[in-house]
Symmetry: C2
Subunit: 177 residues, 2 copies
């Protein structure tokens, strides 16, 4: 692939992500092409249809998240800290976006394995945190993951905003549980 084509492809992914984040999943292909400073034909050369574009963005984000989870997990930290750092990473990511775009009716065919992998990593972390005693044990690891995901996939979520804080506090183990 020629260098300029490579550049353009990345430009498209970046701009599409920005537009989705700014204006929701309904952005038209033409707007995406315009934002990237390219013709509509070029957009379709790189991605045969809208679905392919969305899937690529989603896959990139999931791969990034997976890598980050592995990186943080490898550190010598309490699992609780790892979980909160993963959460912090997520608030800066367009994961909420991916969730909502996926709801559009676009089934996740090739995304599923990635999604499952990330879910597995997160559940593993959650379970370790429960064993370590920092996360309450009266809920399942899957529940922990869902709560984290809910906290982090809100529009405008930030790592240290009150809402995120409260949800994380709810997860902590308490004396009586």
């Amino acid at each position: 692939m020629r260098a300029d084509a490579q550049r353009n492809r990345e430009r498209i992914l970046t701009c599409a992500l920005d537009l989705f984040a700014a204006r929701g999943p309904g952005v038209s292909m033409e707007d995406i092409a315009r934002a990237a400073g390219l013709g509509i034909g070029t957009l379709y050369r790189h991605f045969p249809d809208r679905r392919a574009l969305v899937e690529e963005i989603a896959a990139d984000a999931l791969r990034g998240l997976g890598a980050e989870i592995r990186r943080l997990s490898a550190q010598e930290l309490p699992r609780w800290d790892v979980l909160t750092q993963v959460a912090a990473y997520c608030t800066g990511q367009p994961l909420a976006l991916i969730k909502s775009v996926g709801d559009d009716g676009l089934a996740p065919p090739e995304r599923a394995p990635l999604q499952d992998e990330v879910d597995g990593l997160l559940r593993g972390l959650a379970e370790q945190a429960q064993r370590e005693g920092t996360v309450r044990r009266d809920i399942s690891p899957a529940d922990v993951v869902e709560i984290l995901s809910t906290a982090v996939c809100r529009p405008g979520a930030r790592p240290d905003d009150p809402v995120t804080r409260v949800m994380l506090d709810g997860l902590r183990a308490t004396a009586d549980a």
Copy 2:
């Protein structure tokens, strides 16, 4: 209004709500008409366009919620219990739906007053609960409302599921806060 017209109007509202709940905000007008056992033309006689239909459903739901909040508030209960009962009521309601439908790009012109009123009631409750000492004081009443709303507007939220429980626990006042 003729009796059959009245009946049909209500049928439409009911079926539309069910469909939105089951299949998301993207349901077509035609499907709604079919579900109600009516022609598409009839649907448009009662609601000039999709927006009008959605607004009517939303207004109904908000009016119902407002009434319920007032009813529960009038009881001689700790405000915390009132809050949790309001939350429980919401999990049985299509409020999540309304939120997501509203995001579609349909601005809320006549819905705003209703929404503001409900928000005001909820914030008032939250503040009283904070004064009463059952809700933590290190966040604003608006944050409390947002957390409640997040907890309750999840797809599949139930009053007693683990996720709802954890989020409510996060709101409780603790010895150290």
